[in-house]
């Protein structure tokens, strides 16, 4: 199966069991946020129409590690010339990635790669439930604002042209077409656009990004 960053988890008529399940999950996360003095997140059950401009809506579980590695190198290795993951390398085991992860700063890197949430609340420090009560699915809770900033920071090295922090429709089309060609960074671009669009919608509509 594959990993998909979803937004509007309570919109589009989920059944009542689903609504109750997610309400409980958001309620537990809000408990942790309150304990840290952070604002709560109220997930809306009705949202205006929205659409991701990413043609690819989900990707193999391992693909996110390619983008994490790219981010770690772009941030930490001065003068780095972008290179794709060498064949047979495991990007999550790269020491540059491990060093960055150990700092617990990056919302892109310090997050579950199979589940979990990015909330539309602008907190810098990754939220962890230290009570041992497992109130955060995936253990690490990220901010879609912060993730958006991190994605913007690597747009240039990935060859993506932004207008400030905005991605034009034409450039989104261009990124989509690069994902579809034999671009050396097709995997990174695919994950980048998927996440960027999820964060854009998350921030605009105040809805959580949920990794499903």
């Amino acid at each position: 199966m594959s990993l998909s960053p979803e937004v509007g988890i309570l919109s589009n008529n989920p059944d009542s069991d689903d609504i109750e399940y997610w309400r409980v999950a958001f309620g537990k996360m809000n408990e942790v946020l309150s304990e840290l003095g952070l604002p709560n997140h109220i997930e809306s059950e009705t949202l205006p129409d929205f659409k991701s401009r990413s043609q690819i809506l989900g990707f193999p579980y391992g693909a996110i590690h390619h983008l994490r590695r790219f981010y770690a190198y772009a941030k930490n290795v001065p003068g780095w010339t972008p290179t794709p993951v060498p064949p047979f390398d495991e990007p999550w085991m790269d020491p540059v990635v491990e060093d960055e992860a150990s700092m617990l700063e990056s919302h892109l890197i310090c997050h579950s790669d199979t589940e979990g949430f990015y909330l539309p609340i602008d907190f810098k420090k990754i939220v962890i439930d230290k009570s041992g009560r497992n109130r955060i699915p995936g253990e690490l809770l990220g901010s879609s604002h912060q993730l958006h900033r991190e994605l913007v920071s690597i747009a240039g090295p990935l060859g993506i042209r932004l207008d400030g922090d905005q991605l034009s429709d034409a450039e989104a089309d261009q990124v989509n077409s690069r994902c579809d060609r034999n671009d050396p960074f097709a995997t990174e671009l695919m994950v980048w656009l998927c996440l960027f669009e999820a964060c854009r919608i998350s921030v605009e509509l105040r809805t959580a990004v949920v990794l499903c």
Binding site: M1, S2, S4, E6, I9, N12, N13, P14, D15, S16, D17, D18, E20, Y21, V24, Q55, I56, L57, G58, F59, P60, M190, V210, C212
Partner: protein, 266 residues
């Protein structure tokens, strides 16, 4: 069920029909959408596990559907589906997995009957489980064509039996067995439901197993695999047109794993 308790619905359809055609693809999505408009099968996965919208990449979807293994998912992963085509020695299989919803039982069974009839199944199964289940129920949860030559693991909560199974069990025994619901959909297809509620395996476990055993006794215990005696020979139907090699040895049930792990294979 409380909100922390997850249960899952598994549907499997095994057929000798050419389900890899576009016609079957359209019919399948249409019938699913009719009964489950809130969890439509909107996306498909390509060979590299990338997700695309069926509505925007229809031709690519048909290509994938015609291929060896196709997987599709609902928005927010509210459902999963997969299809393997029939070949000369194997049934084609469609499997669907979704989080169970007690208020959707009518839709589950109505969908099952309609798609079973349209895809001319030899066998369709429907079970609802919670997170961890022992054998033989777990095998029923992910039942697919390669299991057929080894015999049925048990009677599922609901089944559509096609002609080969009707002939193997006999109409008389199918009519006599203590199913809660039995509906002859045609001369060659019968819908059989073990108990009233699809959550009975989860909520009324012991009475569910008693009913299941009573049904298997009437249909013929030799038609079902025996977890205690895995080498025991099991009666299987003849499937015309398929050259299914006889199993070289009876297979034991697969090693125990959590159902929550196996669901990712779907």
């Amino acid at each position: 069920m409380n909100s922390d308790m997850k249960a899952y619905t598994f549907l499997s359809f095994m057929t000798r029909a050419p389900i890899e055609s576009r016609d079957f693809a359209d019919k399948h999505l249409s019938i699913w959408g009719k009964y489950f408009p809130a969890i439509p099968a909107t996306r498909f996965l390509d060979a590299n596990e990338k997700q695309f919208l069926v509505s925007e990449f229809r031709e690519q979807f048909y290509d994938e559907w015609a291929g060896v293994c196709t997987t599709w998912v609902g928005e927010k992963k509210r459902m999963y589906g997969s299809k393997d085509p029939a070949c000369k020695s194997l049934h084609g299989t469609v499997r669907i997995y979704t989080k169970a919803n007690g208020s959707s039982q009518t839709q589950y069974t109505a969908f099952m009957k309609e798609w079973a009839a349209v895809s001319v199944v030899d066998l369709a199964t429907l079970v609802v489980f919670n997170e961890e289940v022992p054998e033989p129920e777990r095998t029923l949860g992910a039942f697919y064509a390669v299991e057929l030559p080894y015999g049925l693991p048990a009677v599922p909560w609901a089944a559509c039996f096609g002609k080969p199974y009707i002939e193997m069990f006999s109409r008389e025994k199918l009519d006599a067995a203590p199913f809660a619901v039995r509906e002859w959909l045609s001369d060659d297809l019968v819908y059989c439901q073990l108990t009233e509620n699809c959550f009975d395996y989860v909520n009324n476990h012991s009475s569910y197993l008693e009913r299941q055993e009573a049904v298997m006794q009437i249909l013929g215990r030799d038609c079902f695999r025996d977890a205690a005696h895995p080498s025991k020979r099991v009666r299987v139907p003849v499937f015309p047109g398929l050259d299914i090699p006889a199993p070289t040895a009876a297979i034991p049930f697969p090693p125990a794993i959590a159902l929550s792990d196996s669901k990712r294979e779907i």
